[in-house]
Amino acid sequence: MTARFSSLLLSRRRLLAATSVVAAAALTAIAGLSPVRSAGAPPNGGDITFLIDSLGSTWIPNNSAISSFQGHIWGHVTDKLVYVDADGKVSPWIAESWEQNGDATQFTLHLKKGVSFSDGTPLDASAVVANLDIWYAGRRNEGINPIGLFPKTYDRAEAVDAATVKVLFRAPTLGFIPTLGYHGSILISPKTIAQPAAHQADLAKTSGSGPYVVAAWKEGDFVKLVKRKDYNWGPPAVGHTGPAYLNSITYKLVSEPSLRVAAVQSGQADVAYSPSPQELKSLKEAGFTIATPRYLGFVNGLAINTKLEPYNDVKVRQALQAGINRKEIIDTVYTPDWKLATSFIQSNVPGATDHSDLLAYNPGKAEKLLDDAGWTKGANGIRTKDGKQLSLTLHSNPYLATAKSIDELIAQQLGKIGWKVTIRAYDVVTFGEKVRFGGPAVPAYEVTRSFIDAGTVASILTEANNGENWFNLGDSDGKLNELRDKIAGAASLDIRNPLLDELQTYVLEQGYFIPRTQIVQRIYVQSPKLKGEVYNGIAYASYYTATIGE
């Protein structure tokens, strides 16, 4: 019995050994069949699923290119003339080189040859001119909007020859080249551009020149992209110019944030976009990749309405600047991935300088400023002056999920030094209707905004040239006007950068803008198997260089 049993065992062991040999041989055979890869070459193939909270509204390229949602898809389907990385550094892409004249009113772009759109149309000078024209003007009567942030000084563009484009401006426009790397400036086939809006709104009918093409899509559901095999003109800055590695990327709409994260956790999807910041810590500990890239733009903060009492008093604005504990905001609402604001523009913007000293938390200084300004604390802890309470109404920005939590924290911080803070949280529609820069009931407007080039910052702040008059100063602040005009007319960065530094100091010292934190508007949770994605200057993830492992 025992003997028989042991012999059985033996035979089982032999069997196991035999099968493993066969398996090993089979594996070797398969390995022999697969093309030999040079050591270190990334693995080709694979498919990923990216779960996103919305797929925006329209797919008309001009109207959707800068959407937080569709921008992801456009980034894979289209190329740009230049590449802007996360530090705002501009490098060649479809434009291999460029020159500008002395006062930055004329630019010449030299295009890469042999580039084509997926419909077969060559990406040549005339195609670039067609794109520049529609970015600037749109076709409003048809519902094709201009690209809002394209320089309004644009005059015209001419095709000098098939690979050379001359672009002319009515005034110095230093920001033109960086604009070409911004999310609105996606190159679309001139055949698509010539089509009416309803045709352009069908994503499947739009041709770009990017590493992926649209294979299928359903509105409000998904977009599936497949690799374009003949792609060979990627931006050198990302270290790869040939076809993409991943075969396909599927963007699938799942509106519930916890479902998106759960799907990645369970291996049903590879990336979840916009998880709630509170989940990040535990996801990181569980081994998932968390990306919180910053875009180039303004920090999240408050533009103060200087026409409204008591914020017409510089001392009160300065007390506000010193009375906010910015570190506590990051510790309470966010994770260490968020950075302290060092100016009113993000620290990765070229031309941004460090003004942390002006933004230090100093409640003692704030209380003294308020005392000097005549605001005295009552028995209930709220300061009053001439029978009026020191009050501040905050309208939480509906475009930022965490805005209200930050407002609540700020209300506590300011409450300690005698402020009475009211918080109003409107939905997007009501916010758009009621809350404006300098509105009669809006002492502080919460800003979340990206921009392309620091040169455009100064002109937004006042009301000249269609500016947005952020601080409701009109043209009353001579120093701000002077800085604005000098910056707009600066013909080189060497002239412009010191002026920008002066502008940042002045705006923060005057308490015109109250920074809260550097902004992260795009958060990604990613499976550890997926590697090698790149984030550009507007914080979109590009999977052009990404690979997926076992």
Binding site: T49, L51, S57, T58, W59, I60, N63, I66, S68, R140, N141, E142, G143, N145, P146, G148, L149, A197, A198, Q200, A201, D202, K218, E219, G220, D221, K252, L253, V254, S255, E256, L259, A262, A263, Q268, A269, Y399, V428, V429, T430, G432, E433, V447, T448, R449, S450, N466
Partner: protein, 336 residues
């Protein structure tokens, strides 16, 4: 009798057309008086960087600055000629948008309807033949229970149990067989309650009738008695309820599709409401009104043909009480 039926049919038809037009105008007015408009909402996103002047021009180009009555008239005359226009949100033809999502909703609604009918019949059968102590009373409580549990609670429970716990379907693949099946259950349960209520009430009434007693005394089996004798007369009022159930299915699909992540008419409505996409809302509401009115119209027109006891009095149908049923039953059926 025939002329009475024709005038009844004509009146019903005219009413149906008026209801559809009223639904259209009502939707237009409601959406128009809401604050904001879809174009401005998009343009005001600070990321877009539009000036007030540009926003004004774009709105004028869309004709959104014209007075409401003018906009309504334009929209209504296009609708009557079958032109549903372009979605304000996506700039794609409204007909395309609806055609894209309709199959998914039709599949869900028809599966839900089949499940609802099956469930209602099962419950109704049980209430007639289950002995009292074997839970007949419990079964009678089911319809009110089904009606009182909100649709989304059922949906979430099903997703949690069968999707997450048992792994029968993946949440990110809502069009798979099992995902559709459970979505149809979630949608069908409340609808089954309505049908079951009416069915039970009628079955109770019919089983007290003489003919049922006679049938029972002849020793008919339960199933035969139910299927051959009781079900037909009890089902007639159900025709009316089914017409109402279509409305439930339309409304419920909105919630079920959102919770299950399906892309159908419901999710299209949800997207369009949140962005105030008037042309799409108009089309969907009108479509729903057309379906609803049409089903009711068919029910109203078929009913007198099915039930010989119904009398048509000036565009209304009147069913005599069961007391004169025997008399009415002898009158010839209406022939069309």
């Amino acid at each position: 009798m025939r002329s009475a039926y024709l005038s009844y049919a004509a009146k019903r038809f005219a009413q149906a057309v008026v209801v559809i037009l009223l639904a259209y105008v009502f939707t237009f007015v409601v959406v128009s008086i809401l604050p904001g408009d879809p174009i401005t909402n998009v343009l005001r996103d600070p990321q877009n960087g539009f000036t007030e002047d540009q926003i004004r021009q774009i709105i004028a180009a869309q004709g959104l600055d014209r007075p409401i009555p003018v906009q309504l008239w334009t929209s209504l005359s296009n609708f009557v000629t079958g032109d549903l226009g372009l979605s304000m949100r996506s700039s794609r033809p409204v007909t395309t948008l609806i055609a894209e999502v309709l199959p998914s909703t039709l599949l869900l609604a028809s599966s839900a309807f089949a499940i609802a009918l099956l469930l209602a019949l099962t419950i109704a059968y049980g209430t007639q033949f289950l002995p009292k102590r074997f839970g007949q009373g419990l079964l009678r409580g089911f319809p009110s229970l089904f009606l009182s549990v909100p649709n989304f609670v059922i949906s979430l429970a099903l997703i949690h149990i069968f999707g997450f716990q048992l792994g029968l379907f993946r949440v990110i693949a809502p069009d798979s067989f099992w995902a559709t099946f459970f979505a149809a259950i979630a949608l069908g349960v409340p609808v089954s309650a309505r049908i079951a209520e009416v069915l039970i009430a009628n079955l109770d009434k019919e089983s007290d009738q003489e003919y049922a007693a006679v049938a029972r005394s002849r020793g008919l089996t339960q199933v035969r008695l139910f299927a051959r004798h009781l079900l037909k007369p009890s089902s007639l009022p159900v025709v009316t309820v089914i017409a109402l159930a279509i409305g439930e299915l339309l409304g419920g699909s909105l919630i079920t599709e959102t919770v299950f992540g399906r892309t159908g008419i419901g999710s299209l409505v949800q997207r369009s409401v949140s962005t105030q996409d008037l042309p799409v809302l108009q089309a969907v509401v009108s479509l729903a009104a057309v379906v609803f009115v049409l089903v009711n119209l068919i029910a109203d027109l078929v009913y007198p043909l099915l039930d010989p006891r119904v009398k048509l009095i000036g565009g209304r149908r009147v069913r005599p009480t069961t007391a004169d049923d025997s008399a009415a039953a002898t009158t010839a059926a209406v022939t069309s």
